[in-house]
Symmetry: C2
Subunit: 149 residues, 2 copies
DNA sequence: CTAGAGTCTCAAGTTCACTTGAGATCAAGG
DNA sequence: CCTTGATCTCAAGTGAACTTGAGACTCTAG
């Protein structure tokens, strides 16, 4: 084991906490690309752990896999990302995170206000209308409006 | 129309932005309870709009319908909630919202730090381990770890 | 060399949160 | 009375994100 610094899918599973099938699924989604042994078993680079951890992090922010794919689009798949690559991607996330924090804080303040003044008219007051752009936007299937981070 | 202050499902749909089938679904979930006309059509109280708006709000925070059900559990279904009822429920949400904001802020700071120092070891550093309680918690099906707000 | 653990692929199942469809019924204007 | 639009119920379909199962192959310790 550890002849080179390549990892089996089981090792990656232990280090990330992701199940083995999930890692295969994520490879299929394009988040990582594993090389293969002559026999056909996947071998992952150490940097893939970082990649997968990042996927999990963005997921905890409420992003869908598709959004995560977009966010990580300019991390090179064919080689281990350099610090500069990570910096670029993470900086974008930082901005979105800031925005989301600000939005939640705004919502909290409005909640305080509505509760405090006793109006409670969530449907008419700013509290609900804060999301106007999103509701009823497209005509097609909407499905879940996830955390949207 | 508007003989009493009861609303048809279409009117509720227009005022909340929810589709008609979704409102029926939410009734089935127990978020609202509509009375019926002799003919069998649903009639909603005005306070049900507030209820549904609140559901949408919590959903935008990333809560699942089950979590929302739990959060709204002590809003009385059989009568229009009073200001005091809303205050109680909203106060609980306010706390969770505060916690979530703090958690996101912490994550942002750690992201800054990791990016800044160049370590980028999301898997070992505090950034990822921040969520330790959640990962690999139950042995059964986990499915999506949604926004978790 | 062999037993057992780990992997492989591919297909099908599952949960959540709805949406879509079919066919019947209700409600109100002309 | 008739038509048109809203509503009803019930069943089945959908998309996302995985999980589970079946059957075969690989790898490594003894």
């Amino acid at each position: 084991m550890r002849s080179t610094d390549l990892l089996s899918i089981g090792e990656v599973s232990e280090r990330t906490g992701l199940s083995v099938p999930t890692i295969r699924y994520y490879e299929q989604c394009g988040f990582v690309r594993a090389s293969r042994t002559p026999g056909g078993s996947r071998r992952f680079a150490r940097s893939d752990i970082r990649r997968l951890s990042f996927v999990m992090l963005l997921q905890s922010f409420g992003l869908s896999l598709e959004e995560i794919r977009a966010a990580m689009a300019d991390l090179p798949l064919e080689r281990a990302p350099r610090a500069a690559d990570w910096r670029r991607v993470s900086a974008g996330m930082r901005d979105r995170l800031d925005q989301r924090i600000a939005e939640l804080a705004r919502t909290r303040d409005m909640l305080d206000q509505c509760i405090g003044c006793g109006c409670l008219s969530l449907s008419e007051c700013a509290l609900h209308n804060r999301g106007d752009r999103a509701w009823r936007h497209g005509s097609g299937a909407q499905y879940v409006l996830r955390g949207r981070f």
